[in-house]
Symmetry: C2
Subunit: 201 residues, 2 copies
C-alpha cells in the first residue's frame, strides 16, 4: 500500500510520480499545496520534520527526499543497475542534481513561473542563472559521449536530472545551445509509461 504526499507543479514530486507510473505501482495521491503552506502544518511536520514534499508512505513507513524515494522504489528493478560502481555513479549524479543543479534551476522556475515574482528576486536570479548554466554545461558535456547518464541505460539518475531540466525554460533558461540535452529529452520521453509533469497518470 503506497501513499504519495505530492504537489503537482513540483519537479521533485514529479520524479516519484513518473517512476511509480513506470513501475506500474498503484498509489493514493495526497495533495499538499506548498503555496498554502500545507507542508508546514503540525500534522505534516510529523510526517517530514523538514517540511518538504514529496513524502512516500509504504506499509506505514515514511520516506522523504525525492532521490532517496527513487532509490527505494528502483532497488531490484531495471531502473537501477546492479553493479556497485554503477550504483555509486547513479548516486553521484543524484547528489549533483540536489547540490549543483536543483537549487539553481528549480528555484528560478519557482520564482518566475510559480510565484510570478521575477522582479522581487532579480539580484538573486543572476547568481542562480550563472550556477544553473554551469550545471547544464556539465550535463551537455557528459551527453556528448553518453546516451544516458549511467551505464548507457535509462535509470533513476535520468529521472532525477530530467525533472527540472526539461522545464528549465520556465525559469528563463535558454536551452537553444544545448542540443545533446534536448536529444536526451526525447530519449527520456520515449520510455514506456512516460508521463508529463503536472500529470499523475
Amino acid at each position: 500500500m503506497y501513499k504519495l504526499y505530492d504537489f503537482l507543479p513540483s519537479g521533485n514530486c514529479y520524479k516519484v510520480r513518473l517512476l511509480l507510473n513506470q513501475l506500474a505501482i498503484e498509489y493514493t495521491r495526497i495533495n499538499i499545496d506548498i503555496l498554502n503552506k500545507e507542508s508546514r502544518t503540525p500534522e505534516f511536520l510529523k510526517i517530514n520534520p523538514n517540511g518538504r514534499t514529496p513524502v512516500l508512505c509504504h506499509d506505514d513507513k515514511y520516506l522523504a527526499e525525492s532521490n532517496a524515494i527513487l532509490w527505494y522504489l528502483a532497488t531490484h528493478t531495471r531502473f537501477l543497475p546492479k553493479d556497485q560502481y554503477e550504483q555509486a555513479q547513479v548516486l553521484q549524479w543524484m547528489f549533483f542534481e540536489q547540490y549543483s543543479h536543483e537549487p539553481n534551476i528549480a528555484t528560478p522556475r519557482y520564482w518566475v513561473s510559480i510565484l510570478k515574482a521575477e522582479n522581487e528576486y532579480k539580484e538573486q536570479l543572476k547568481d542562480k542563472m550563472k550556477a544553473g548554466y554551469a550545471a547544464l554545461d556539465v550535463m551537455e558535456q557528459h551527453l556528448v559521449s553518453n546516451d544516458f547518464f549511467v551505464a548507457n541505460q535509462y535509470t533513476i539518475a535520468d529521472i532525477a536530472l530530467y525533472a527540472y531540466t526539461h522545464v528549465a525554460d520556465e525559469g528563463d533558461f535558454d536551452l537553444s545551445g544545448y542540443s545533446r540535452i534536448k536529444d536526451w529529452f526525447r530519449r527520456v520521453e520515449s520510455q514506456d509509461h512516460y508521463i508529463s509533469i503536472n500529470k499523475s497518470k
Copy 2:
C-alpha cells in the same frame, strides 16, 4: 588501489578520510588546494567536470560527490544497514545533508573561517544562518529519541551529518542550545578509528 583527491579543511573530503580510516583502507592522498583553484584546472576537470573535491579513484575508476563515495565504500560493510528501507533512510539523511544542511552550515564556515571574509558576506550570512539553524533543529529533534540517525547504529548517515555539524561554530553557529547534538558528537567521536578533521590518519 585507492587514491583520494582531497582538501584537508573540507568537511566533504573529511567524510571520506574518516570512513577510509575506519575501514582500514590504505590510499594515496592527492592534495587539491581549492583556494588556489586547483579543482578548476583542465587536468582536474577531466577527473570531475563539476570541479569539486573529494574525488575517489579506485582501480582507475573515478567517483565524485562525497556521499556517493561514502555509499560506494560502505556497501557490504557495518557502516550501511542491509535492510532496503533503512538503506533508503540513510540516503534520506544524506540528501537532507547536501540540500538543507551543508549549503547553510558549511558555507558560513567557508566564508568566516577559511576565506576570513565575514564582512563581505554579511547579508547572505543572515539567510544562511536562519536555514542552518532550521536544519540543526531537525537533527536535534530526531536525536531526542535516537542515538544515531538510522537503525540505532553508527552509519554513513552519521558521518555525512557529523562532518560539518561538529565545526558549525567555525561559521559562527552557537550550538549551546543543542544538547542532543552535542551528546551525539561524543558517540561519533568514541567510534573505533575515529580521526579528527584536518587529519589524514
